[in-house]
């Protein structure tokens, strides 16, 4: 699932990533803009996604991602991987991974590299 949370209106990157994951043979649920963390996590649970990808270019990642992580925990979605992407300062990357993000993918990553990374993460996880 590729999700846009909060007031962040930058959807170009999310759509680029969604398309490249589709072209890599994956099923991608796209949520559209302006979702709440609650909506996104509930949707991810219903869709039983392998990876919840949150795209954030607004700078609000340090407030929104903790909420997403908390909701995932409440939903017992422990085997779902959280991947964060977008415009994120380098120093925030370890903060996000410490919170529970499986990876943080920054701007200017070639879309094919994003698909490769997602595939690696899913392969490394226990099969369901």
């Amino acid at each position: 699932m590729i999700a846009k949370v909060g007031l962040d209106g930058h959807d170009r990157g999310a759509k680029v990533v969604a398309r490249s994951l589709r072209d890599a043979g994956m099923d991608v649920v796209y949520t559209g803009l302006h979702r709440t963390p609650e909506e996104v996590v509930a949707a991810a649970v219903q869709e039983d996604v392998d990876v919840l990808g949150v795209s954030l270019l607004s700078g609000a990642h340090l407030t929104l991602i903790p909420r997403v992580v908390e909701l995932m925990r409440e939903a017992h979605a422990g085997d779902m991987l959280l991947v964060v992407g977008g415009v994120i300062p380098d120093e925030d990357v370890p903060v996000l991974t410490a919170m529970g993000a499986a990876d943080v993918i920054l701007q200017d990553t070639p879309p094919e590299a994003v698909a490769r990374r997602v595939r690696e993460l899913v392969a490394a996880r226990q099969p369901r």
């Binding site: 969604a18 398309r19 994951l21 589709r22 072209d23 890599a24 043979g25 994956m26 099923d27 991608v28 649920v29 796209y30 949520t31 559209g32 979702r35 609650e38 909506e39 509930a42 949707a43 649970v45 219903q46 869709e47 039983d48 939903a75 017992h76 979605a77 369901r128």
Partner: protein
């Protein structure tokens, strides 16, 4: 595996959203585990009203599903939505976007939405549709909405899984109504002209009604109603929900419900059988796997002593011998 399957089936029947989601993943992935789960759930099914929503791409099927789910919730129903989008024929991947129109429903525990890709299935649904509907049914959803991909004329698989089929049209189809005559319009139990907030809806409604009077009625007494609605403005949706309930009531009193369920089950059994045959025969080593006898037979076909048709028949007979009894 049995323990896992039993536990999951139990949690689905108890209505757990997480278990329901995982069960849907299993049936979508197919294989022995999916079959074992479906077997545990089957006797818990048969209670839901399954409504198919089909129509051209962009006609508003997802927006309509959302609006209808909201009305149904107001009437105390619990809702399951299966939304199907097409897979790319090139990569096999898919972008599933129906949910964009329904996001706000995700917070209502009374609504469960699942997206699925066609993965090469051609009838407007995915291969696992019937099993997925069973999962939602077993999980206690009393109204199940099945949104097909945007269809053209002959993607009519939805009639094999839905008790009531809604065909969505939009204003401005014009001559297309004529073109569609022989296609999906024929399978409608209810016609909805969506985007009635736009110009030309009255004309489309009139054209559909005119077309219906010309069409031979398949069932004796049910004349599919034609309703104008605006899914986006949530106008006309109460009337639509009434019409759906009306159709279900008609089906029950007329006996059509039993006939239709029988047809649906027959179609499903045949479809599964076809898939089983295909799965067995499409293995690249399907013939070699039959042993040396097969090679000999193949030689005889090559020498024109046996026809390909006769050999194919013999293969099927032998397959029947190897399939365990029910």
């Amino acid at each position: 595996m049995t323990d896992d399957v039993d536990a999951l089936a139990r949690q689905v029947v108890e209505g757990s959203p997480r278990a329901t989601a995982r069960a849907l993943t299993w049936v979508e992935s197919g294989g022995p585990r999916a079959e074992a789960l479906a077997a545990r759930l089957y006797r818990h099914t048969g209670r839901a009203h399954v409504v198919g929503i089909t129509g051209a791409p962009g006609s508003g099927k997802s927006t309509l599903a959302r609006a209808l789910a909201r009305v149904a919730r107001g009437r105390g129903r619990t809702v399951g939505i299966l939304a199907v989008d097409p897979s790319s024929p090139f990569s096999g991947g898919a972008i599933l976007g129906d949910r964009i129109r329904m996001n706000d429903l995700a917070l209502d525990p009374g609504v469960f939405i699942r997206s699925m890709a066609t993965r090469g299935a051609l009838g407007g649904l995915c291969r696992a549709a019937a099993d997925a509907i069973d999962v939602l049914d077993a999980a206690g959803r009393s109204l199940i909405l099945v949104e097909t991909v945007g269809v053209g004329q002959d993607e009519v698989d939805v009639m094999r899984v839905a008790h009531t089929v809604v065909v969505v049209s939009v204003p401005g189809l014009g001559d297309d109504v004529q073109a569609l005559k022989a296609g999906i319009l024929e399978i409608a139990d209810l016609h909805v002209v969506n985007k009635a907030d736009r110009e030309g809806a009255d004309r489309t409604i009139a054209e559909l009604r005119a077309m219906l009077t010309l069409m031979p009625l398949v069932e004796e007494t049910w004349m599919p109603p034609v309703l104008g609605v605006s899914a986006a403005r949530e106008e006309g949706i109460e009337a639509m929900a009434d019409a759906l309930e009306g159709h279900l009531a008609y089906m029950k009193t007329s006996g059509e419900a039993d006939r239709r369920r029988r047809r649906m089950v027959a179609a499903r059994v045949l479809r599964i059988a076809q898939d089983l045959v295909a799965a067995t025969l499409l293995r690249p080593d399907a013939l070699e796997a039959q042993g040396s006898e097969a090679t000999t037979l193949l030689d005889r076909v090559l020498r024109r002593e046996v026809t390909p048709h006769a050999y194919a028949r013999a293969l099927l007979t032998r397959m029947g011998e190897r399939t365990p009894d029910v």
